[in-house]
Amino acid sequence: MKFILNYIRKDEWSPYVAGVLLGLVGIAAVWASNSLLGASGAFENIAGMIGKAVAPAAFDNMYFNFIMPPGITVGVMLVIGIFFGGMIGAATSGTLKWGKKDAANSDEQWKRIFGAQTWKRWLIAFFGAIVLEFAAGIAGGCTSGLAISGGMLLAPAAFLFITGMFVGGIPTALLIYGKRF
């Protein structure tokens, strides 16, 4: 028991142990609610909600009416859960960043490569996030909704997507890191 408690308090688990936990969550999702995990859809639901409130005419299209109807969906609940899961995880290891000085830009490797300026981190992360959400739409899901959820059902889509992730990610990393790759 003490061993388990000590392990939970660790900042970083073996990826194999954490992976087993995620695998069980994937099974539980299908078993308990006949649904798949997926994070990217939630942002589309919320974007639709905001869009319909601000510019109803522009957001009156097929996508926001039928494909991804706006609202607080099950997907939004999942993302809220993920948020608190991350919070609990960091709390158990005493690594919460709320109110800490480096909360805005905390990764040492990032600072080594790009420098310590927060605006740079935020600008690049913002651009990256736009790209991620758009790409998830094209692909039919993100890392959770397609790679994990599709992969566990053995959908070819998931493995095409994972291949694509490396095809896109490796040259980008090469470009950013150059000689430091």
């Binding site: 999942l78 993920i82 899961g85 919070m87 991620l132 070819p156």
Partner: protein, 183 residues
């Protein structure tokens, strides 16, 4: 309502596992593309082996049916993945890990992450009619799985994937398939 609560609890465990695996760190994400730290791959493949074994076993026993399988349309899945990899290497997160990292209190996950996802969702949603149907129409195999598509035994497919994963884990951990970080 029950579904909302179940999903919320699932999300908590999901976010917790992302945090404990270290996936809410920029360096873990970028380093998988540099082959200097394969944590992300080990984490994902372990999760896949566990979940596919469990799900195919449970379906074999008649205890569950599969939900709607994510659709396979080769060009869209692949090209979407390439663009996704580009975005991931820039920001160092994906929608799921960003939500978990935001919960930890990382403001570079919470603010530019949330705003970026919303902007991306608007761009995608407003251009949907002109972009998606055309891409999804190319080489579309529908909501299919590999065993169904190629007439394979599900049991053997899962076994093969598990063995392949174990081989890969062995090569990464013991046979130097992970590059050393330069000083």
């Amino acid at each position: 309502m029950t579904n909302f609560i179940i999903t919320l609890v699932l999300g908590v465990f999901f976010g917790f596992s992302l945090n404990k695996a270290g996936l809410t760190k920029y360096n873990k994400i970028i380093n998988v593309y540099r082959f200097t730290d394969m944590t992300v791959l080990k984490f994902m493949m372990t999760a896949l082996v566990v979940s596919m074994s469990g799900l195919y076993a449970l379906r074999g026993l008649g205890l569950i049916t599969f939900p709607n399988v994510p659709a396979t349309y080769i060009v869209g899945n692949l090209v979407g993945g390439v663009i996704f990899g580009f975005g991931m290497a820039l920001s160092g997160y994906c929608p799921g890990t960003a939500a978990s990292g935001a919960g930890e209190g990382k403001l570079d996950y919470l603010v530019p992450g949330l705003l970026g996802f919303l902007v991306g969702a608007v761009i995608y949603g407003l251009s949907y009619d002109k972009v998606f149907p055309q891409i999804a129409a190319i080489a579309n195999y529908g909501n299919t799985t590999m065993p169904d598509l190629w007439n394979l035994s599900p049991f053997l497919t899962v076994l093969l994937f598990a063995l392949m994963s174990l081989f890969l884990f062995y090569m990464i951990d013991r046979a130097g398939w992970q590059r050393k970080e330069r000083e």
